[in-house]
C-alpha cells in the first residue's frame, strides 16, 4: 500500500512520518511515535478511551485517520500538564476525588472532561453525565468521575 507523508504536532513536538492512508490516528500515536498514553478500548467508536484533542476539539482518535491530522495539532493526556505545572486541574481533581481505578478509561475521560469544561465551565450533574456519555468506565460507576469533574470545574474557577 502506498504511504502518504504527514506532519503532525503531538503534545508540542512535530512528527513527520509516512503512513498508510487507512492508518488510524490512535495507531499512529501509539505505535509509530510511541505516545502510548492514549489507548484503544473498542472497534466501534463506543468507549472513548482513545479521546484526544485535535486542534482543541475532542475526537475519538480511533475514528480519525492519521492523514486527517496532517498539519494539525494533537493534545493527548501525556501533554496536558504543561511545563512547571505538572498537574492539569482535571488530573488533580481525578486524583483528589478518586475518579479512576484501573486507569484505562482515564486518558479519554480526562481529555473529554477538558473539552467539556472548555465548552461549559460550570456544568450541572446531568450536563456532566450527558457530556461524558461517550466515555465508558467499568470500574468507578461514574460517581467519583462526576465528582472529579465538579471539583475540576471549581479548581478552574468555573462553579461556585
Amino acid at each position: 500500500m502506498t504511504h502518504v507523508p504527514i506532519s503532525v504536532t503531538v503534545d508540542g513536538a512535530v512528527y513527520d512520518a509516512e503512513v498508510e492512508p487507512r492508518r488510524l490516528l490512535v495507531h499512529f500515536l501509539r505505535e509509530d511515535i510511541g505516545r502510548v498514553g492514549t489507548v484503544v478500548g473498542c472497534d466501534t467508536s463506543n468507549c472513548g478511551a482513545c479521546t484526544v484533542l485535535l486542534d482543541g476539539q475532542s475526537v475519538k482518535s480511533c475514528s480519525v485517520l492519521a492523514v486527517q491530522a496532517d498539519g494539525r495539532t494533537v493534545l493527548t493526556v501525556q501533554g496536558l500538564a504543561e511545563g512547571e505545572h505538572k498537574w492539569h486541574p482535571v488530573q488533580e481533581a481525578f486524583k483528589e476525588c478518586h475518579g479512576l481505578q484501573c486507569g484505562y478509561c482515564t486518558p479519554g475521560m480526562v481529555m473529554a472532561t477538558v473539552d467539556l469544561l472548555n465548552e461549559n465551565p460550570s456544568p450541572s450533574e446531568s450536563e456532566i453525565r450527558e457530556g461524558l456519555e461517550g466515555n465508558l468506565c467499568r470500574c468507578t460507576g461514574y460517581h467519583n468521575i462526576v465528582k472529579s469533574v465538579q471539583y475540576a470545574s471549581e479548581l478552574m474557577g468555573g462553579s461556585k
Binding site: G41, V77, C102, E133
Partner: protein, 802 residues
C-alpha cells in the same frame, strides 16, 4: 481536602489516602501489555468461526503465507502437538464430563468465535488482512443454544461421548440433598396446612465482564534454553505460570509471567485463555516474540461470559412468616467448553442461597449444561450474585404472598447480631455480622417511610409513573480459603497468600505481594497496612506485584480475596520483620529485646526514650553486617504465607427507589442507598470506589446488559454498540455508607469489598420495579429490565395481547 500522609508516625490504617497509583495513570505513563513493542515481534491475528456449530471440512492456511509481511499461519494440523488442551481446574464431581478444549479447533467448531486458525505477520494490519486468504469449508451442523433443549435426550450434542458415540450435553449434576428431616419436602409436610410455598423461575441472564482494556498477550522467547517471558493482561500471573507450564510442557522455572498495568478484570481475566497458549507455543516454535491484542469484537465472543442460569426456586414459610425451607434447582450454562473454573461457579452460589436467613431445610441441585455458546466462567461475584438475586427476589414474592411488608418478613428471619457465630443451613459458619445496624442505617438514609407514603399516593391517584422500593439485605462469602476447604470441593489450587517485606539499607521498604491488582489500589492500601505496623511513611513503601520474576509466590486477585487473605500475609510478614529487627536493635542499644518497645518506626528503650534506634538504622546494620549479634543472619527481611481459617462474610443493605413509567416501561432510578459492612477498612475512599463500581455492574445487569443469541447461535450483541455497558448518563449518584463489624477470621478484621456492590444491587433494582408494578399483577420482570421487557411484563399481567 487531600490526605496524602507522607509523614511517619501517624497511623495510616483507615484513612482515605489519595492513591499512589494515580500520578502515573493520570499522566498516561502507563505500561499496558499493548504498549510492549519488542524487536522482531510477530503480530498474531485470529480467524474465528462465524458459525455456532460446524464441521471443518477443509482448512487451508497456505494462501495466507503469500500475503505481504506474513511469516507463518497455523491451523490445528500445522500446529500439531503444540496445540494443547485448555484445562479446567475445578472438576466438581467425580463423573463430570470434561471434553477436550484444543487451542485451535480440531475438525469442529462449537461456538461463534471458536478459534480456527492464526496468522503471524510482522505488521499488525497485514496480519488481520491475511485472514481473508485462509480457505475454510464449513459443513454447518444444527446448533443447540437453549439449555433445556440441550438437556433433552437426543439433542444435538456439543461434544461426542468419550467413546465417540452421540454425547450428552449434561456436563455434571450436583446434588446437595439432605434426606429425612432436613429435606425440603419433609419440612413442608411437617408444617402441614400452615405451610406456604412460593415457587418461581428466575432467569439470570448472560453478561460480559466488560473490562475496558481488551485482553492482550506478548510472549517473548529468550533464545536460550526454554526461557520465555510472557506479559499478559491477566488477573492471575502466578496461576497462569503454573498452568502454562502444565499445558505447554515448558519448564515452569523458565517461565516468567508479568501482569503489567491491567485495565480491569472483573473475573474476565481470571483465566487461562487459548490465545495465551497460542502466543506461547508459536513464539516457542518460531523463536520470535508473538503479540496478540484482541479487538473489542473478539472480546464479545471470545472472552468468557458469565451468569446464564435458569433458577427454579421454592421457598416455604409458615403463614405468619417463619421460613421453613428452600429448594434450589439450577440449570447452569457452561457454554461450549469448560474454562478454568466454569463448572464451579454455580457451586460458589450454592452456599449463599440461604443468605442471612435462618431456615431448617435446604436443598440444592445443579445441572451444568453444554451449549453452542461462548464458555462461561467467573464474573464479578461468580455464583453469589445469582444466589443473592434468587433469595432476595423470592423473599419479596413470599412477602407479597403472605401480605407482609418485605422488610418485616426479612427481619423475622434474619440471624440476629447476638446469634453470631452462626452456622447456616448451607453449612457455613458466619463469624460476625450485624444486619440490624446496617438495615437501620440504610432505612434512615433512604427515607423509607416517606417513600412508602409517596408510593401509596401515586397508587391512589393512578399516576402513570409508579414508584417502587426494592430491598436487598445481602451477605456474601469472600476470601476463598482455607485451602483444605477448596480441596474438599475438588478445586485444584489453594487459597493462601504470600508477602515478603524487605527493609532496604537506605531505609526504604519493598513489599512484595502475591496479589495482582488491576484497579483495586493495592499499592496504596498495602502500603497503609505496612506503614501502620512498621511506622514507615506510606511513600517510603514500594509495593511489588504482578511479576513472577519479582514476586514469585502468590495466588493473585479475584473473589474479593486480596485484602481478606493477602492483608493477613502483610501483617504477619511485617511483624516478623520487627521481631528480627528487635534482636539487632537490642544489640545496638546494648539491652535485652524485652526492654525495647517499637513505637513510631523506632525501637525505644523502655523508660529511656532518648535511647532509640530507628528501623532504617537497623536495616543498615543488617546490610553492613559489621556488628550483628551472634547467630543473626545479615539482611533485614521477613516473609509470611498465610492460609486463612475461614471465609469472611461482608454484608449490607441496599435500597433502591425506581420510578416506572407504566405506559412506556421506562425505568428511572430515583435513589440508591448502599450500606455495606466490609469489616475494618484500610482506605475508605477505595472501599467506596469499589462499591460504586460494583453497583454499576449489578445495576447494569438489572437494567441494560445481556448477551443475546439467535436460535442458530449467532451473537446479537457483538459490539459495544449492541451490548449496553452503562454510561454516566445511565446511572444515578449513589448514597453509600458503612457499618463496621470486624471479621474475627482474620487478625486485621477485614472482609472483602470488590464484589459486594455487584452482588447486592441486581435484586434491589428488580425488586423495586416489581414493587412498583405489583398492583398491576406483575410478579416478575425479565432482565435486563429494558423499557420493552417492562412493558411486556405489564401487558402480560394485564392479560392483554403482547
Amino acid at each position: 481536602m487531600t490526605d496524602t500522609m507522607t509523614t511517619a508516625n501517624a497511623n495510616a490504617m483507615g484513612r482515605p489516602l489519595r492513591r499512589k497509583e494515580d500520578a502515573r495513570l493520570l499522566h498516561g505513563q502507563t505500561n499496558w501489555t499493548d504498549n510492549i513493542q519488542l524487536p522482531g515481534t510477530l503480530h498474531m491475528a485470529i480467524l474465528r468461526s462465524p458459525m455456532a456449530h460446524a464441521k471443518i471440512a477443509r482448512l487451508d492456511v497456505t494462501p495466507a503465507l503469500s500475503r505481504p509481511h506474513v511469516v507463518a499461519a497455523f491451523g490445528a494440523a500445522e500446529l500439531g502437538d503444540l496445540n494443547g488442551s485448555i484445562p479446567c481446574v475445578w472438576p466438581v464431581t467425580d463423573d463430570i464430563q470434561m471434553p477436550a478444549f484444543p487451542a485451535l479447533a480440531v475438525d469442529k467448531v462449537r461456538h461463534v468465535g471458536d478459534v480456527v486458525a492464526v496468522v503471524l505477520a510482522s505488521d499488525k494490519y497485514a496480519a488481520a488482512d491475511a485472514l481473508d486468504a485462509i480457505e475454510v469449508d464449513y459443513e454447518p451442523l444444527p446448533a443447540v443454544i437453549d439449555m433445556e433443549a440441550a438437556m433433552k435426550h437426543g439433542s444435538v450434542a456439543v461434544h461426542a461421548a468419550a467413546d465417540g458415540s452421540h454425547g450428552s450435553n449434561v456436563c455434571y449434576e450436583f446434588p446437595l440433598k439432605p434426606t429425612g428431616d432436613g429435606s425440603f419436602e419433609a419440612a413442608v409436610a411437617a408444617a402441614g396446612d400452615d405451610a406456604v410455598v412460593v415457587k418461581r423461575r428466575f432467569i439470570n441472564q448472560r453478561i460480559i465482564a466488560g473490562f475496558m482494556e481488551p485482553r492482550a498477550v506478548v510472549a517473548s522467547p529468550m533464545g536460550m534454553s526454554n526461557e520465555m517471558t510472557i506479559w499478559s493482561a491477566t488477573q492471575i500471573p502466578h496461576v497462569l505460570r503454573v498452568l502454562l507450564s502444565l499445558v505447554t510442557g515448558l519448564p515452569e522455572n523458565g517461565l516468567r509471567v508479568v501482569a503489567p498495568d491491567v485495565g480491569g478484570g472483573f473475573g474476565g481475566k481470571l483465566q487461562l485463555y487459548r490465545e495465551e497458549v497460542l502466543a506461547v507455543q508459536i513464539a516457542r516454535k518460531l523463536g520470535r516474540p508473538v503479540k496478540w491484542v484482541e479487538t473489542r469484537s473478539e472480546d464479545m465472543v471470545a472472552s468468557h461470559h458469565g451468569r446464564d442460569q435458569i433458577q427454579d426456586i421454592q421457598l416455604a414459610a409458615t403463614k405468619d412468616g417463619k421460613l421453613i425451607g428452600m429448594k434450589v434447582d439450577l440449570i447452569a450454562n457452561m457454554g461450549a467448553y469448560l474454562q478454568i473454573i466454569t463448572p464451579g461457579i454455580p457451586l460458589l452460589g450454592m452456599f449463599m442461597y440461604p443468605a442471612i436467613y435462618k431456615m431448617p431445610a435446604y436443598e440444592f441441585n445443579c445441572v451444568g449444561v453444554f451449549t453452542n455458546t461462548t464458555p462461561t466462567d467467573a464474573i464479578r461475584g461468580a455464583g453469589r450474585p445469582e444466589a443473592t438475586f434468587a433469595i432476595e427476589r423470592i423473599i419479596d414474592e413470599m412477602a407479597a404472598e403472605l401480605g407482609m411488608d418485605p422488610m418485616k418478613l426479612r427481619e423475622m428471619n434474619w440471624i440476629k447480631h447476638e446469634e453470631f457465630p452462626y452456622t447456616t443451613v448451607a453449612g457455613l459458619t458466619y463469624d460476625t455480622g450485624n444486619y440490624e445496624a446496617a438495615i437501620a442505617k440504610a432505612l434512615e438514609a433512604f427515607g423509607y417511610d416517606a417513600l412508602r407514603a409517596e408510593q401509596e399516593q401515586r397508587r391512589a391517584s393512578g399516576d402513570p409513573v409508579q414508584l417502587g422500593l426494592g430491598i436487598s439485605t445481602f451477605t456474601e462469602m469472600c476470601g476463598l480459603a482455607p485451602s483444605r476447604t477448596l480441596g474438599a470441593l475438588k478445586y485444584v489450587a489453594g487459597g493462601w497468600e504470600h508477602c515478603t517485606i524487605r527493609a532496604l539499607p537506605t531505609g526504604k521498604i519493598e513489599l512484595i505481594t502475591g496479589t495482582s491488582p488491576h484497579g483495586q489500589g493495592h499499592e496504596t492500601a498495602w502500603s497503609q497496612i505496612a506503614s501502620s505496623i512498621l511506622g514507615v511513611p506510606v511513600d517510603d513503601i514500594e509495593v511489588v506485584h504482578g511479576d513472577t520474576g519479582r514476586a514469585p509466590y502468590g495466588m493473585d486477585t479475584y473473589g474479593s480475596r486480596s485484602l481478606a487473605v493477602g492483608g493477613q500475609a502483610i501483617k504477619k510478614a511485617a511483624e516478623r520483620l520487627i521481631e528480627k529487627a528487635r534482636v539487632i536493635a537490642a544489640h545496638q542499644l546494648e539491652c535485652s529485646g524485652d526492654d525495647l518497645e517499637f513505637i513510631q518506626g523506632e525501637f525505644r528503650v523502655k523508660g529511656d526514650p532518648a535511647k532509640a534506634q530507628p528501623l532504617a538504622a537497623v536495616a543498615f546494620e543488617a546490610f553492613s553486617a559489621h556488628n550483628l549479634p551472634d547467630g543473626v543472619e545479615p539482611t533485614l527481611q521477613a516473609e509470611a504465607t498465610v492460609d486463612p481459617d475461614d471465609f469472611s462474610y461482608p454484608h449490607g443493605t441496599h435500597l433502591c427507589a425506581a420510578e416506572v413509567d407504566t405506559e412506556t416501561g421506562k425505568v428511572t432510578l430515583r435513589s440508591y442507598v448502599a450500606i455495606d459492612d466490609v469489616g475494618i477498612q484500610v482506605n475508605p475512599l477505595i472501599v467506596e470506589g469499589q462499591v460504586h463500581g460494583g453497583l454499576a455492574c449489578g445495576i447494569g445487569q438489572a437494567l441494560y446488559e445481556g448477551v443475546e443469541y439467535d436460535k442458530d447461535g449467532n451473537i446479537l450483541t457483538a459490539s459495544l454498540a449492541d451490548y449496553l455497558i452503562p454510561s454516566a448518563a445511565d446511572l444515578p449518584s449513589f448514597i453509600t455508607g458503612q457499618t463496621v463489624t470486624p471479621s474475627t477470621t482474620n487478625p486485621l478484621g477485614t472482609k472483602g469489598v470488590g464484589e459486594a456492590g455487584a452482588i447486592a444491587s441486581t435484586p434491589a433494582v428488580i425488586n423495586a420495579i416489581v414493587d412498583a408494578l405489583r398492583p398491576m399483577g406483575v410478579t416478575d420482570v425479565k432482565m435486563p429490565a429494558t423499557p420493552e421487557n417492562v412493558w411486556r411484563a405489564i401487558q402480560t399481567a394485564k392479560g392483554g395481547a403482547e
